[in-house]
Symmetry: C2
Subunit: 218 residues, 2 copies
DNA sequence: TAGATTGTTAATCGATTAACAATC
DNA sequence: TAGATTGTTAATCGATTAACAATC
């Protein structure tokens, strides 16, 4: 029997690897600014506190080639990671629900690299509509239908109250949205092809608190 | 040779389990409000899209006992999870850096269960000092030393600019802070006993973008 | 050349999933 | 009783870590 061998496609990174890459990128950009030309995996690993072998493996998903004894070219490395993650492309996104967390994310992307660019926010609150937060206009929710179609936006950040999240998400899918970054606690039930990235702040708090309580007991 | 068998301590939950527990809790509280008395692992699994066996295993860390064919008591389940995570205790925290993300988290905890309670915020910006965000006072950064000591606060949320994060973190450790929820991109280098929970927004964006791009190619 | 580092393959480790006996 | 569900133990799966040959 002949085994069929799949070609190794560059898009094979595991989720943990994907989560680590922005961390590498931030550090490498800092090193690039400081004028460093080459960097080795052990050096990166020491700084970010992870195994050098893992660094090598993580970086290999971008297809970069390093030189034994020398390491990787810092400038090239920054470029391939940015390119691999798609951080150098516009990645335009809508934000729905300009409440507390919503307006924060809008303001946040000014100072930090979020990876994507919020081009408009939507809300039903008449007081918020017409205002600007972090340079982003808050529009009337109803306008999302025509705008999504016109601008071909594929990504939505969902920061509405929990009780309307499912309903809004369904409308987003109707608008042609393909990926939803969900900050609500609601478990969205949507067609399988829609990409959902759930980010719940309390999940982090849970890990932190548990580790803290464990360390106090010991 | 006699094998030494460790007693199964309740604090043995893995990190993935810990991250899932707040999700269960939110759903169960909703069910409790709707008057549901008992719930089975398969029912929870169907809703949260995870394996029923995993639900059983996750819930078992709290020490709760279910009844075959009936499931778990919803009220009791909410209580034991809240208790296990420590979400029912005060968990008082300081927030340092009342900038964009910082003020967001302050406002956020009013509407969502964060798991911990921000009792004061600190900033060096004279314009922010004296104001109130989400009901939390912003105090002068210098005051943190005496207050941390007096109030015995053990948790700090770090939302300063990246370039001062390491420096501030070291001062927090001097203040007696034991756990730092780090929202900056800086890799904090602190004594080993300090608990650090790194939360970088761009890590989520990376996973979302990659999955989106992969799905478009296919 | 000698030695550090890359890059790959193998071993380990831990989490998820499957199997199944116990039980209500 | 019959059957669904718990709860535990075993099998699987995937990620991390270790080993090592290639190479600059």
């Amino acid at each position: 029997m002949i085994a069929v061998r799949r070609n190794k496609i560059s898009g094979q990174a595991s989720e943990p690897t994907l989560r680590r890459l922005p961390g590498y990128l931030f550090y490498l950009k800092k090193m690039r600014e400081e004028g460093m030309l080459n960097i080795s995996a052990p050096t990166i690993g020491k700084e970010l506190k992870c195994d050098p072998t893992q660094v090598v493996k993580d970086l290999s998903v971008t297809g970069i080639k390093g030189k034994p004894k020398v390491g990787y070219n810092v400038y090239e490395l920054c470029q391939v990671i940015e390119n691999y993650l798609g951080f150098n492309k516009p990645n335009e996104a809508f934000l729905i629900g300009a409440g507390n967390l919503g307006s924060a994310l809008m303001a946040y992307q000014e100072s930090q690299t979020l990876g994507l660019k919020i081009i408009a926010a939507f809300d039903v609150d008449k007081d918020k509509v017409g205002t600007q937060i972090g340079g982003i206009h808050v529009l009337e929710y109803g306008k999302i239908f025509s705008l999504a179609d016109r601008l071909k936006v594929k990504i939505a950040i969902l920061t509405t109250p929990n009780n309307v999240a499912q309903w809004v998400a369904e409308e987003l899918v109707d608008c042609g949205i393909k990926a939803i970054w969900n900050f609500t606690l609601t478990n969205l039930d949507l067609p399988g092809e829609i990409i959902i990235e759930n980010t719940s702040m309390s999940a982090f708090a849970a890990v932190l608190l548990r580790r803290l309580n464990d360390s106090i007991i010991k």
